[in-house]
């Protein structure tokens, strides 16, 4: 019995050893690069050039983990495993702030570079880039004059002609959340119901798939993030999708187009604050912002960086963007938004 027990325990220890060694931190010598840990739900390829540039400049090794989902859930149970958190949707960091999962960043440089629109008032996180949630419309079947606002997409005119990805995706939760803050709950629910009743197909696929659906004649208009248009143009297989659609910036005669904001902040980890702050400062520098623009076709938060938006944007205050998320999720569940009526 002893042998079996011992062999089991030694095996378990060996297993733990192998697993630990394979992810162990390097011993720090004087020439060893310092280490910065970043957790993110953004596309890996979009951040890699920025990481590489920062590593090269500062003799730093960035260790990262990219989550498709569950960023805040992981942060909630492992609040100090990473030094920096970067997300594709600023409201997730607002939720993280409310859950006390963030600490204040060093405001000296960042608050000089970024305007108040892009900063959390308590300096817990900031927006590093943004993109507009726009309307893709068929070049063949829709005239630009037919389009005006988000509300207009919910009108019977577009019955059976509207496409969108899952209502529960962060992009739509964010957009509908902004509707809640801007229009109020009652009008928002009417708009969402209208969009739901106009669906041409079940909300599925990503934003680019909606352009493809327009090309295939399954629908005429779709909600999508504007940066997917140049991305489609740059991929040979998707150029025909891009050719079939045009981009319309809604609500230009009103307060402006709603935007999705990516954001960054410091976790509550205390071990690497100086380096983490240095990274955040680099993230808003003109150099990193240019890299971001090149990789993602987003608009930079730093106004000195290229590619400033040429349309009117409606910035809902950061403090208001997370609150309606739960109510939106509940409403989408109640009306079964992801199933065409």
């Amino acid at each position: 019995m002893k042998i079996i027990s011992l062999s089991f325990f030694s095996f378990s220890l060996a297993t733990m050893g192998i697993a630990t060694i394979s992810n162990a931190e390097p011993t720090k010598g004087s020439n060893e690069p310092r280490e910065l840990k970043i957790i993110s739900d953004r596309t890996e390829a979009h951040l890699t050039p920025i990481f590489a540039a920062f590593e090269k400049k500062n003799n730093v090794k960035i260790k990262s983990v990219f989550m498709d989902n569950g960023l805040i859930n992981r942060l909630e149970t492992r609040p100090t495993e990473a030094d920096v958190v970067i997300t594709k949707d600023a409201e997730l960091l607002e939720i993280a702030r409310q859950k006390k999962l963030l600490q204040s960043y060093d405001t000296k440089t960042i608050n000089t570079i970024l305007s108040a629109d892009f900063r959390d008032p308590s300096n817990m996180y900031f927006v590093d880039a943004f993109r507009a949630r726009v309307i893709f419309y068929s070049t063949d079947r829709v005239k630009e004059s037919d389009l005006s606002t988000y509300e207009n997409l919910a009108s019977p005119q577009w019955k059976g002609k509207f496409c969108v990805r899952s209502g529960f995706h962060d992009y739509n939760l964010s957009l509908f959340g902004q509707f809640f803050s801007f229009y109020g709950p009652q009008k928002t629910k009417e708009i969402i119901k209208g969009l739901h009743s106009n669906l041409a197909k079940n909300p599925t696929g990503n934003d680019r798939e909606q352009a493809k659906a327009i090309m295939e004649g399954k629908c005429d208009v779709a909600l999508a993030n504007n940066y997917y248009y140049p991305i489609m143009q740059s991929i040979p297989e998707q150029q025909s999708w891009a050719k079939a659609v045009k981009v319309f910036y809604p609500n230009q005669k009103e307060k402006g187009t709603f935007v999705m904001r990516s954001a960054a902040g410091l976790t509550t980890s205390k071990t690497n604050i100086t380096l983490a702050n240095a990274f955040l400062e680099y993230l808003v520098s003109t150099e990193a912002q240019s890299l971001m623009v090149n990789a993602t076709f987003q608009y930079p938060a730093n106004k000195q960086a290229p590619n400033a938006p040429t349309f009117k944007t409606n910035f809902i205050p950061l403090k208001d963007i997370a609150a309606p998320r739960e109510e939106v999720t509940k409403f989408l569940t109640e009306i079964a938004f992801d199933k065409k009526q």
Binding site: S5, S12, T20, N23, T43, K63, E326
Partner: protein, 506 residues
């Protein structure tokens, strides 16, 4: 010491479900906020889930059951090759299969419950094939002879002989297919079909509230407890009547050329959706993408996948053997069956729920995390969660084999002077070898393609083949996955070969 070890293992195995239930019990207030919403959504959710489940079971029975019967009953050229090819879809995650079909056919069918059911059916057909081939091999041919003598026609023999005899493996196949379907939200998300697991995922991520996810998850666990109690009752009631050991070997029917042609056509039709169609497109895309796809991470992904799967395999093997030694050798076979049933919870509950349990148990505030602060920065949570999820894959074959080994075998060893552990090592263990090979192969294969747990619990800088495939598939870039899928299939080739050998020996 033995009791302590046993309790420790039982605690580890039962912990995820227990954690989720206790967390749900402590957060019942969520029902006042969300009760009405969940109640209003539940009927449609359950109906859609049941619809997908039924389609998945039907397709898997056709794609797995038909070749199982053909390769068992008939002798024809290429029979062993087909046995292997039916098992080949084991190498591809269901989400990648669905992505491939959507991309290759551009058909709306694959965005419907039936299409989703087909994807799960194709992905699960190898399990149905495996279970039915083994069950058919163990069915005494004398039953068929007796039925023939009594004048029963083919249809009557099928309805009144084969169906009742195969009821348990058919039930097990259906349960397995449904478990796979329930645990996988990514494939449902890709299809845009709102199954229970996708709704759980949407509500969890939409609200970012663990208590809502736990509330839904606990309802799954309670439903599973009821289902398992029922299935165990059925097993206990019917299994002894179905066991037929020591029967004469089956003689496969030699086909005449016309028959052989029909059987071959049926076999080709059965392996087309799971192997021929996907491999054709995968190779085509891999060729098209040659030189353009960034392959720099391929070696690293393959190494990570293989090492993680190997460690999970060794861990599950160690746990299983210790359990077998502690329980079976002590003539407590019922306890071993009970532990196996408990371990089944971890497999049958949605993988997201298991992840949730691990998020709770590896919280930085827990004593465990305080004692081992680097724990979450290793693969240990990922390996442990994966091992717990797939533990039944090795426990079930072991329990099955043990039930057919006469207890006199170990006793004979003891009489001949072996100690308890020596009798276990030298007498019992060799008899368990086939079960160990089957269980190990299945665990390795499942680990290699596991996505949900790896995605959520991976440490920093960790990547894997399945994760890369998942990332490409969810961003609708199925052709980009081609090289990764081919490598995955190459790595899994050997375990599948061992499975096929096992089937042939049975």
């Amino acid at each position: 010491m033995k009791a302590f070890l046993l309790l420790l293992l039982l605690f580890i195995i039962a912990q995820p479900a227990a954690l989720v239930l206790s967390y749900a019990f402590n957060n019942l207030s969520v029902y006042s906020d969300w009760g009405t919403t969940i109640q209003s959504a539940l009927p449609e959710l359950l109906a859609t889930t049941a619809q997908v489940g039924i389609f998945a079971i039907c397709f898997s029975l056709i794609l797995g059951g038909l070749p199982a019967w053909l390769t068992h009953r008939f002798s024809f050229p290429g029979r062993q090759v087909f046995s292997f090819l039916v098992l080949a879809p084991l190498a591809v995650p269901a989400v990648a299969l669905l992505g491939l079909y959507q991309e290759a056919t551009n058909s709306e069918v694959f965005s419907s419950p039936s299409g989703l059911g087909l994807a799960f059916g194709i992905a699960c057909a190898p399990y149905v094939f495996l279970l039915l081939r083994v069950a058919l091999a163990r069915t005494s041919p004398t039953f068929r002879e007796a039925a023939k003598t009594l004048g029963l026609g083919p249809l009557q023999r099928f309805l009144f002989l084969h169906v009742p005899l195969l009821a348990i493996p058919l039930l097990a196949s259906s349960a397995l297919v449904d478990s796979e379907m329930l645990s996988d939200f990514a494939t449902s998300e890709r299809a845009g079909v709102n199954t229970f697991s996708l709704a759980l995922h949407n509500l969890w991520m939409g609200t970012q509230r663990n208590d809502i996810a736990v509330f839904l998850a606990s309802s799954v666990i309670i439903a599973l407890i009821v289902t398992f109690a029922f299935v165990i009752f059925l097993f206990q009631k019917f299994t002894p009547q179905n066991s037929a050991t020591g029967h004469p070997r089956h003689q496969r029917m030699r086909c005449r050329p016309f028959q052989a042609t029909l059987v071959l056509i049926a076999c080709i039709a059965a392996v087309t959706p799971g192997f021929l169609f996907p491999i054709f497109h995968t190779i085509k895309w891999a060729t098209q993408k040659a030189g353009t796809s960034p392959l720099k991470n391929l070696a690293n992904d393959t190494f990570s996948s293989v090492t993680t799967s190997a460690i999970v395999l060794l861990l599950t093997l160690a746990i299983s053997l210790v359990l077998v030694f502690l329980l079976h050798a002590q003539k407590q076979a019922n306890h071993l069956r009970a532990v196996t049933a408990v371990s089944l919870f971890n497999y049958a509950m949605p993988a997201l729920v298991l992840v949730l349990a691990f998020f709770i148990s590896t919280n930085e505030q827990t004593t465990l995390a305080r004692v081992f602060p680097s724990l979450n920065n290793t693969r240990i949570p990922l390996i442990t969660a994966t091992a717990l999820r797939f533990l039944p894959f090795i426990l079930l074959p072991l329990v099955d084999t043990l039930s057919r080994i006469p207890s006199s075998l170990a006793m004979a060893g003891r009489v001949l002077g072996c100690s308890e552990k020596s009798a276990f090592a030298r007498v019992l263990l060799p008899s368990l070898k086939p079960a160990i090979v089957v269980g190990s192969s299945l665990i390795f294969v499942e680990c290699m393609k596991e996505i949900t747990i790896a995605q959520a619990l991976r440490p920093f800088e960790y990547s894997a083949l399945s994760l890369r495939i998942f990332n490409y598939t969810t961003t609708h870039q199925a052709p980009e996955t081609a090289v990764w899928v081919l490598v995955l299939q190459l790595v899994i080739f050997y375990p599948i070969l061992r499975l096929q050998e096992f089937i042939e020996k049975e």
